[in-house]
Subunit: 228 residues, 2 copies
Amino acid sequence: MKHIYTGKTKNVYELEDGNYLLEFKDDVTGVDGVFDPGANTVGLTIEGAGLAGLKLTKYFFELLNEKGIPTHFIEADIDKKTMKVKPAETFGKGLEVICRFRAVGSFLRRYGLYAQEGQPLDAFVEVTIKDDEREDPPISEDALDMLGILSKAEYKVLKELTQKIAGIVKEELAKKGIELYDIKFEFGRDKETNEIMLIDEISGGNMRAYKNGEYIEPLELEKLILEG
Amino acid sequence: MKHIYTGKTKNVYELEDGNYLLEFKDDVTGVDGVFDPGANTVGLTIEGAGLAGLKLTKYFFELLNEKGIPTHFIEADIDKKTMKVKPAETFGKGLEVICRFRAVGSFLRRYGLYAQEGQPLDAFVEVTIKDDEREDPPISEDALDMLGILSKAEYKVLKELTQKIAGIVKEELAKKGIELYDIKFEFGRDKETNEIMLIDEISGGNMRAYKNGEYIEPLELEKLILEG
């Protein structure tokens, strides 16, 4: 296999069968040693974060595949901290799609004039461009279409998939008495079928979850969901 | 009449007949003495800027009213540098609506990963929140609706009006060999009819215009359009 990319939280290898292998690292995004799922930099290394991330991702992707929701997931090897995935084409140079159930993070930083911290949001979906240099700017449906990144028809699918998947995660967390505030996804086009599918991961590092009003750290979240 | 508001580029007075009087100042937005229509601060004072802004605004608002496009304009008094307008209710605490024909300014700062400077844009419309503290963040149709600022039906009207008015201004400028790159509008609801109408002004301070590839300063633009 061939190493093709070193990401902030994962290494990516190309396999001989045409699929890809994602190796989960213990690095998580954040700023100055404080975890922040919305951050663009590796803020800290948490021993066990990679394994916890992979376990949760495996759990959720298997659940989604059972429900017939397209994802890139093929299989996971917990011991090796790797996940085998189908090849995907990203939208442009990559987008992040956020689904928000409560106002926190960058939503509040942008719209604090109209929103209170923690106020309920109706599965609100927004898209940001993956562009570290320009701090991941939000982008509208019209701009995505105009710049040739995503057609209007694709945007509709993306938004529906996002709300559906976020709803499933929210429901799973609720079973453990945990409330999902927001979650970030990445999508791509299946290289074989061109179908839009969920890629990347679903882990504590991609969401903000609270229990009894207290924020839950990614590692703790994995324990609560898988062992709790 | 009663002074009710001191804006960056205008003073606002309430008249006894229920209408409002806008007094145009010579202050223009910008940073460190350099004019920038997208800036949030008064960058400099240009003698004659207020008068030039009022003259252009009168010219365009009269043209729009002739074409049956709703605006708040009633009449202008060039000598007093004032304009009488109908009362309007802003959307939330105020929105700015931008129509872009070429990629410059904040569009390029945000989407430079996908756009070249000066690249044609198809009368692209975006909305930003008037919020100096948070640097006028862009906001999507979905967020405007969710936060109760603007309904989806109103957004549709706003976008159509914006493209229509920007198209008229673009055409007027083209008659003088000038190309409109982008323009910023403000809208409000007519307090009597609840109809969405154009408010504020249309002047050199709200647009970027170029002639033979050279940017035209606001005062020069007024001369080229009204005297050229």
